[in-house]
């Protein structure tokens, strides 16, 4: 049991120790406002990262999520501002488009036996390209519902708040944990990522699971796009560039193995917050180049990959079977 949870424990320990160190240095750090900000500011990355966790657990990768987020913001701006569609309808359309786009990529990956890397890379170019065709400017969304939704928040004393994006983030992670650990679909994903061939022999519906995983990732990228458009109140074709890499980083720091099969959804949540924490620390400090964020995350990523490699070696030695991965 401890084997399964050890990476998660390390991730959470890093998060807690990191937070305590920040709080020790900056008196205003240990406040509900900072915690609320961490959740709100990282909501779109976190929601997309939840989807990425499933993809990576299944042994795949999805490079299109950043572009799908950007595309969703543009689509929403065009639908709401230019076509005059109600935001709620536009949200539903965006989720359908996101899920459909993901499902299509999953179908290509499965039936044409293509590497997910290439298929989703193509998906990334398509999504980003289409958003540029729709508009190259940043389109403001002025619908009153947007400002209303931005006001939705559970306020704490001291100015902290649990905003709607933060609530969505928590909700998505709660549902994702249920899906991963207590459903047949979740079990199939783990089986597929562990060993595709034996999963097939065991009767796991490989086609349905593969398509489902990418559809889920696309759906969550669409939701992340909605959150992002709420966040900036605009549709912008350059929005969320590189977010796919942030989400992959969060998944790996969260203890999920890039080769698939091992990992926990909750770990990804920790991975997202660790990245946010480092960024917040550097802003609080105010004298360091913000590029230190990238360096710190790079070092962390490296450490976690080594840690996984080490854990794997230790387990396989003990179990007596050859090291995999």
């Amino acid at each position: 049991m401890i084997q399964r949870f050890l990476p998660l424990i390390v991730t959470m320990a890093v998060l807690v120790v990191g937070f305590l160190l920040c709080a020790a240095q900056f008196p205003n750090f240990a406040s509900l406002r900072v915690v609320g900000n961490l959740l709100t500011d990282n909501a779109f990355v976190g929601i997309a990262a939840a989807g990425m966790t499933f993809v990576i657990l299944s042994g795949g990768i999805d490079l299109s999520v950043g572009a799908v987020i950007g595309f969703t913001t543009v689509l929403l701006a065009v639908l709401i501002e230019q076509a005059g569609i109600h935001p709620m309808v536009a949200f539903a359309l965006a989720l359908i488009v996101g899920a459909g786009f993901g499902a299509a990529m999953g179908a290509v990956i499965h039936w044409f036996q293509m590497p997910p890397f290439i298929v989703t890379l193509a998906g990334m170019f398509i999504a980003r390209g289409v958003s540029f065709v729709l508009t190259t400017d940043s389109l403001p969304i002025n619908h009153p519902l947007y400002s209303d939704l931005n006001e939705v928040a559970w306020r704490f004393s001291g100015g902290g708040r649990l905003s709607l994006p933060a609530m969505l983030l928590l909700g998505v992670f709660a549902l994702s944990m249920l899906l991963a650990h207590w459903t047949r679909f979740g079990a199939n994903i783990y089986a597929l990522g562990g060993n595709r061939h034996s999963a097939e022999l065991m009767g796991v519906p490989v086609a349905r699971t593969t398509v489902g995983v990418y559809a889920l990732s696309g759906l969550l990228a669409g939701l992340a796009g909605i959150v992002f458009s709420l966040y900036t109140g605009a549709g912008y074709s350059l929005a969320a560039t590189g977010v796919e890499l942030d989400t992959i980083t969060a998944v790996v720091i969260g203890g999920t193995q890039l080769t698939g099969g091992y990992g926990l959804v909750l770990g990804t949540f920790g991975g997202v917050l660790i990245q946010g924490l480092i960024q917040t620390y550097i802003t609080f400090d105010g004298t360091m180049s913000s590029w230190w964020t990238k360096i710190a995350i790079g070092v962390l990523l490296f450490v976690f990959i080594l840690l996984q490699k080490g854990l794997l070696a230790v387990w396989s030695d003990r179990d007596g079977d050859p090291a995999e991965a």
């Binding site: 120790v17 900072v34 900000n37 403001p140 109140g233 912008y236 929005a239 360091m288 913000s290 450490v303």
Partner: protein, 324 residues
Amino acid sequence: MSMTWLKSAVAATAVVALFAGVAPAQAADGKLVVGFSQIGSESGWRAAETKTAKAEADKRGIDLKISDAQQKQENQIKAVRSFVAQGVDAIFIAPVVATGWDSVLKEAKEAKIPVVLLDRQIDTKDNSLYMTAVTSDTVHEGRVAGEWLAKKTSGKCAVVELQGTVGSSPAINRKKGFDEIVAKNPGMKIVRTQSGDFTRAKGKEVMESFIKAENGGKGICAVYAHNDDMAVGAIQAIKEAGLKPGSDILVVSIDGVPDIFKAMAEGTANATVELTPNMAGPAYDALIAYKKTGTLPAKWIQTESALFTPETAKAEYERRKDAY
């Protein structure tokens, strides 16, 4: 198992080291703390703006916290939220895009932290979300360049124009201001105009085609470039055509980067209108006045668009080369 725990210990130590590596103290009591969300460091001018903001803060005893957004709005929003959480005395933003600032600025307003926009404006219906904006008037810059040229040539000049990136607001406005002056002087005419995309290479290329089209450059009295970089490219093209930049063809441009001062000192350029990188200075002054007496500054603080000519070029170059 011991191996595993060793590894996790190593991991944890590395992270602790990361966080503990630098430990600057919070500002001493009584010092104003300003958080500045900068777009990035994409151009020499932008880097100079950041450097000047630091220098001007030191001059006034202000503690400046800078966050580089790496060209991403989401990073700017995060930085503003962090500044609010930190309880800074004011927030400066150089917004990367005009839209999408309302909700985060509302949080700053609720926390009673004044916000100053630097160098660019934002799109918002609620002007009370920021205290003031410090920007240059790009139409005025074009006017200043045009006025200098009209005076220098007694209102008689065939001008070729190197425009900035098509559709960008500085290109539109710098053309508009210059055109106003041309319209006032019947002897002045823009004979050719084309975009050089604000770059040196494109400026040179377009200038070459202008020279060919205008009888080897004989029909051109002056070149007006929307930025210094294109002017530097144009100077190269004029030299290569066997003409003397600065006398056969006058060169006037906008921005005031070190290279154009160097060119002026060498006599190959004639005038530049400075877009000052000191946007933070006037902002600090407005902020200090507000904190002391409670007087709100005007909604728009316009920076000076000063004209520089070869007479002072050498000294100006020396003064500037370190800021960029």
